[in-house]
Amino acid sequence: MIQWWCSAAGTPWTWAWRPYPGVWIFVAALAVAWVIAVRRAAGGSARDSGKPAWYFAGVALLWFALDWPLGALAGYLASAHMAQFLLIAFTAPPLMIIGLPRLDATTQPSRFERVATHPLITLVAFNVAVIATHLPVVTDTLMPTQTGSLLINLLWLGAGLLFWWPVLMPHAHHWFSPPVRMAYLFANMVFMTAPGAMITFSDLPIYATYELAPPIPGFSPIDDQRFAGLNMRVGTAVVSWLAISVMFLRWNRDEVRLMEEEAGAARHSPPDVRSAADGSRER
């Protein structure tokens, strides 16, 4: 029987290519979703038509994570499963969100959007999803079936989109300034230390799926699991620090520009206004 989605099938591993039609349909659906989003945006109050290169880079990463060989290896190796997680939940979502078209500044966010994308909610939801999907009982129950594996992958993608949304689309929360966004990403790194440490420092393999999977030469279950835990900690740290760095540089650039504009405005204004502007800065 043909497999439509990668899962821990329990059959011996081979490097022979295998098709996963469910993955192709999913990737195609994401491409169609972007076209629909652009059309809707064009018909509404869109400010631009998005950045397709970013969106499709995210979709390409998803495809790489879900299809053969990485998707298939995720049924045999905890480290491949973790690499999949990093790509699906932590790397592809920000690229996809950056690529979405943006609306006009006057468009008001809906109440649902304000609540669902509240940073506290997205931070908690993401970490609950990460912890839940890495619990041995959940992984060992869901990974052996294609539907279960699909559910894990969808949860990761959904949680990742939710997590990155307020960072990259903060229009619904004006208080969520760049420094707070950086703190948000840092807090997430701290929270993710717990599952990463649990996986890295566990004395025994915690997932039956990977402990009992047909072995791939060169990978012992415990080494594979330690590598998976390190993947989680290092991978999230690299992506988070990269995002924090970009955010800091942009924030710094904007602040400098603002100060220069204020200084320019003060130079060109009459003396009484200039002294008032200088006074306001001193305050």
């Binding site: 943006r102 609306l103 959007e113 839940a132 959940v138 949860l155 393999p205 415990i222």
Partner: protein
């Protein structure tokens, strides 16, 4: 101010459905772990005594099973080195767990692997394969009819050869359980495929001192 395209509004329903599914899995599934003190192996219907068979070991000498393992906790497994799943998983688990035990305990344990594929499993091949799990593991080979007679004496299904593995070779059907003989020479438990390192670490000290 940064503004954006708004996605479909049924996201809340999707999130709720996902939460319910994860919640159900968490609530409904837990590993069946026997109470502390009990063995995690599968009890045999009746205890089995060691069958006194003799096969060739990887040094080319005759190995008398009952005599060679007397007084030791002995794990007996029938498998083959080209086995893609059950055999390497069992052997690597046993090897890693035995490595964690104190020296005195390790010295009282014997792992005996009997090949069910003597056509491909030469003595050298068996030795190389076993060395990747535990250099002290004992590898035995003999005529397949003789090996099957031994398996039948233990109530195990005889090995069956012939299923194409799709890679130019063949797979050998064989019993997937490991028989555990306590130092008194009797087997009371078998450990099927699915036995985890945690289970071995739980049971081996009890098997050493029943």
């Amino acid at each position: 101010m940064d503004t954006t395209f708004r996605p479909h509004r049924n996201g809340a329903a999707l999130i709720a459905a996902a939460a319910i599914m994860v919640g159900s899995v968490l609530a409904g599934c837990s590993r069946d772990t026997p109470p502390p003190g009990e063995f995690r192996g599968t009890p045999l219907e009746r205890p089995l005594a060691k069958v006194d068979f003799a096969l060739e070991d990887t040094d080319g000498r005759r190995f008398q099973f009952a005599r060679g393992t007397r007084g030791m906790l002995t794990f007996l497994f029938f498998g083959y080195t080209n086995c893609p799943d059950v055999c390497p998983v069992h052997m690597s688990a046993l090897g890693e767990v035995i490595d964690r035990l104190p020296f005195e305990a390790r010295n009282r344990i014997a792992v005996v692997f009997v090949s069910t594929d003597p056509d491909r499993d030469s003595a050298t091949r068996i030795r190389e394969w076993l060395d990747s799990f535990g250099p002290s593991f004992i590898g035995l080979r003999g005529d397949i009819a003789e090996v099957n007679r031994i398996q039948e004496a233990y109530g195990l299904a005889p090995a069956g050869k012939g299923i194409d593995d799709g890679r130019g070779g063949y797979v050998v059907g064989h019993a997937a359980q490991i028989l555990a003989f306590t130092p008194d020479g009797m087997a009371r438990f078998a450990y099927p495929f699915g036995t985890r390192r945690d289970d071995w670490l739980h049971d081996i000290p009890k098997l050493l001192n029943p």
